[in-house]
């Protein structure tokens, strides 16, 4: 024992020795390495600049569903501007945050790149990494976009534009997809598609008769963010003051995941599970497995985002489906808050050497890419007019877009009221609990969470604590912000919250 212990301890000591000595050794190895390194480095650079005339700009996107539309746009763009080549590499979107991290730390950001939650816009700006886009997005241009697109902290900072939307900002709300074939087998029509929870149970009984392995509803519970989203949206039919996007009660200025809306919605899923109306695989699969099983006729309904129609059509070669609004308790309306949260945007690197070419491309992006994407049935355009004038031959996609449009209601956002809230959010990002509603749903359905309300209350408490700390920290640093900036007493849920409402509050 002693010998071993001694051996290991002495090796630990040796390591600490090596550690202290390593800085010098470090430079040594680096120095010896550079000679050979630069040799091959310059060689590579030479070949790259060998054919000098044409300009290459690089674009990193993290949306595989847009790939086809982007490639098409680039091909057209290169035809129109033969001297510009747009490099559009494959991105592993699950690793995109790590990729961005690495690129930033090595100062090798591409000319144009997709945003990421891991590096919020205000941090990018503080680090001096992103280019101001005011000359691309002139006031005239900006007006073409949906109201609320140019929101502080998402697309703009101090009134200047730093990000260009990639999808319609009114994305994504949740909806019910139905398999027409399964419905027909159960002797049902599209009129029987449930609008309320009770309908769903009633219809469900009939669907269970179709076959032992066919279930009314299938969900991919493993995809926790999606679960969080539709539970939140269902909850708005019960308690609309809590916005579904982040479980925040905009009246009280507190997170409220334990509101009756959330609790009842989760309990409804549990009930479906107990009544065997929920496909038993739901608990162990993700949303893409769920939608494939749906396409294979194993379930009549699936709840998903707007982006499912193109997934079903392209990846599953399945087109016999329809789209309906999310069923809710008593069939009351639900909504998703549109707060200008343009979650999918692209930035331009401040160090780009080809800003003029980038500008050309961004303009092309707005004029052609949005339309291409729309035509392919991937997602709506951020430009209002394009959505109206573009001919799209894809009934389900249009149906989904229509439902989505109605689900989104302009709601208040603290960012618009107080710019310092952007900083608070950056702080909050690091402090808030890692847990989310979707995971708690999983735990509840799997039987590990028994006290649902308690667990949700704990989550709310964690969030509220983190928010309080973040506000404190930001206000200590000199910014004027307090908890009241998060309360909107003059807001009525389901009614658009326009700029005059903010003005009214400011008085």
């Amino acid at each position: 024992m002693n010998k071993i212990a001694f051996g290991l301890l002495s090796s630990a000591a040796a390591i600490s020795l090596l550690l202290t000595g390593c800085s010098s050794e470090q430079t040594g190895s680096t120095a010896s390495g550079t000679s050979s390194g630069t040799a091959s480095g310059t060689a590579a650079a030479d070949t790259a600049s060998g054919s000098k005339a044409p300009v290459t700009i690089t674009y990193w996107s993290r949306w595989p569903e847009s790939r086809q539309a982007i490639e098409q746009t680039i091909a057209d763009f290169e035809k129109d501007y033969p001297n510009i080549h747009v490099d559009f590499p494959d991105i592993v979107s699950s690793q995109y945050p790590a990729q961005l991290q690495a690129a930033i730390s090595s100062n090798s950001l591409p000319d144009i790149f997709a945003n990421s939650n891991a590096v919020p816009i205000d941090q990018l700006n503080r680090l001096g990494l992103i280019h101001n886009l005011d000359d691309v997005l002139t006031d005239e241009r900006k007006q073409q976009f949906y109201d609320g697109t140019w929101t502080e902290g998402y697309t703009t900072l101090d009134g200047s534009v730093y990000a260009l939307p990639h999808f319609t900002p009114r994305r994504y709300s949740h909806m019910l997809y139905y398999n027409k074939d399964v419905l027909a087998k159960a002797g049902l029509t599209e009129n029987d598609v449930p609008k309320s929870w009770e309908d769903l149970e009633k219809v469900g009984e009939k669907i269970r008769q179709v076959g032992s392995d066919v279930y009314p509803l299938i969900l991919g519970i493993k995809t926790d963010w999606l679960v969080t989203g539709y539970i939140g949206q269902m909850a708005t039919a019960i308690k609309p003051e809590v916005v579904p996007n982040d479980g925040f009660n905009l009246k009280t200025g507190q997170y409220e995941f334990d509101s009756p809306g959330y609790v009842e919605s989760v309990e409804f899923l549990k009930k479906l599970q107990d009544e065997k109306l929920l496909h038993p695989n739901s608990l162990v699969i993700d949303y893409r497995e769920a939608s494939s099983l749906f396409a294979a006729g194993k379930a009549a309904f699936v709840i998903d985002g707007t982006f499912l129609s193109s997934e079903l059509q392209q990846n599953n070669k399945f087109n016999d489906f329809g789209v309906a609004p999310l069923p809710t308790k008593d069939g009351k309306p639900s909504y998703y808050a549109f707060q200008g949260e343009t979650k999918a945007t692209v930035h331009v690197s401040k160090n780009t050497k080809h800003y003029e070419e980038v500008k050309l491309f961004l303009n092309y992006y707005m004029d052609h890419f949005y339309v291409n994407q729309l035509k392919l049935g991937v997602e709506g355009s951020p430009i209002v007019e394009q959505n109206k004038t573009t001919q799209v031959d894809n009934p389900q996609f249009l149906q989904a877009q229509d439902i989505q449009d109605k689900a989104f209601i302009l709601s208040p956002h603290p960012y618009t009221r107080n710019k310092a809230a952007v900083q608070v959010n950056t702080e909050l990002n690091g402090k808030k609990p890692k847990e989310n509603v979707g995971q708690i749903v999983e735990g509840y359905l799997a039987g590990q969470v028994t006290d649902l309300k308690g667990q949700l209350a704990q989550l709310s408490a964690g969030y509220n604590q983190a928010l309080k700390e973040s506000i404190d920290k930001v206000s200590r640093s000199g910014a004027k912000i307090s908890a009241t900036d998060y309360q909107f007493p003059n807001w009525t849920p389901f009614e658009p919250y326009t700029s005059d409402k903010y003005a009214e509050l400011a008085k």
Binding site: S10, A14, D90, Q99, S105, P110, E311, N316
Partner: protein, 279 residues
């Protein structure tokens, strides 16, 4: 005679058991192979049924094309081969010195190598990234190879150390009398005696590098044409979309070389490890 029959009986029983369990071992691979011929929907929904309704050979061509497997295959081969050479040479050299020469500091070195196997590590990819960047090798093939070779080869060093130490002193002495220098003795006498260990390290490093995902991804950010198969596999999963059958085809393609290498080298493999466990 009777004993022989009895033995035959036991052997038959053993074969039966081994084959039954072996089926459990092989089934997932068979499943994957067949799945690579299914449609995406079938892949998810067909359950126990192995055979596809109709073989979708297009999955393979898609994998080859979308996953850029033709290009990535070559990259994988180059990166893996180079990494294997670097790692095996470095650890053989170090192991030889540590195993055969009691130079001052040898003990400390060996202990330090060993300890890092167990040393708590935090988040270490960024420093390596910075280092490769300072060497000017980011987004180059040598950069990827270097980063891949950077993993802990401690196990290998220990294997070589133990092995070289176990070779008899007389070998070296007689070589020296014949006028062979240190390096020549190593190269012409000792190394040929180490084929099992070399095979072991080659196989293990091959498996690791071939399947390695994160390093080739991160170190080729701006040069996707330098990526490897393991990274290519991930072209099939997107933020809101997954192409399972394409992925299964890709997995099947990328499994083949590893299998070949293993089958080629496996004869030496076990002997190699045997030498080391003996210590």
């Amino acid at each position: 005679m009777r004993r022989l029959v009895a033995r035959r009986g036991t052997n038959a029983l053993l074969h039966l058991a081994l084959l039954t369990f072996g089926a459990l071992w092989v089934y997932p691979f068979v499943w994957m192979l067949f799945s690579s011929l299914k449609t995406n929907t079938e892949y998810i929904a067909s359950g126990i049924r192995l055979l596809p309704e109709s073989a979708q050979w297009s999955n393979f061509s898609r994998a080859w094309r979308v996953g850029h497997f033709s290009a990535y295959f070559a990259n994988s081969a180059i990166v893996t081969a180079a990494t294997v050479v670097i790692v095996v040479v470095l650890s053989a050299l170090a192991g030889y010195a540590l195993g055969r020469v009691r130079f001052p500091g040898a003990r400390v070195l060996l202990a330090a190598f060993t300890a890092t196997m167990f040393i708590p590590k935090g988040y270490t990819i960024l420093p390596v990234y910075q280092l490769i960047k300072h060497l000017g090798l980011l987004n180059t093939m040598p950069g990827v190879i270097l980063a891949e070779s950077s993993g802990a080869h401690v196990l290998f060093i220990l294997l070589y150390t133990a092995h070289f130490r176990s070779l008899p002193q007389e070998l070296e002495e007689s070589a020296e009398i014949d006028g062979s220098g240190f390096f020549r003795t190593f190269r012409q006498i000792m190394l040929p005696l180490s084929l099992p260990i070399v095979s072991t390290t080659v196989i293990m490093q091959f498996i690791w590098t071939w399947n390695s995902f994160f390093v080739p991804l991160i170190f080729t950010l701006n040069k996707p044409e330098l990526r490897t198969l393991a990274v290519g596999m991930f072209s099939f999963t997107g933020e809101n979309t997954v192409d399972w059958s394409g992925m299964a085809a890709g997995a099947s393609i990328s499994l083949i070389p590893v299998m070949v290498v293993f089958i080629l080298f496996q004869r030496y493999f076990i002997n190699g490890i045997a030498g080391s466990v003996k210590g």
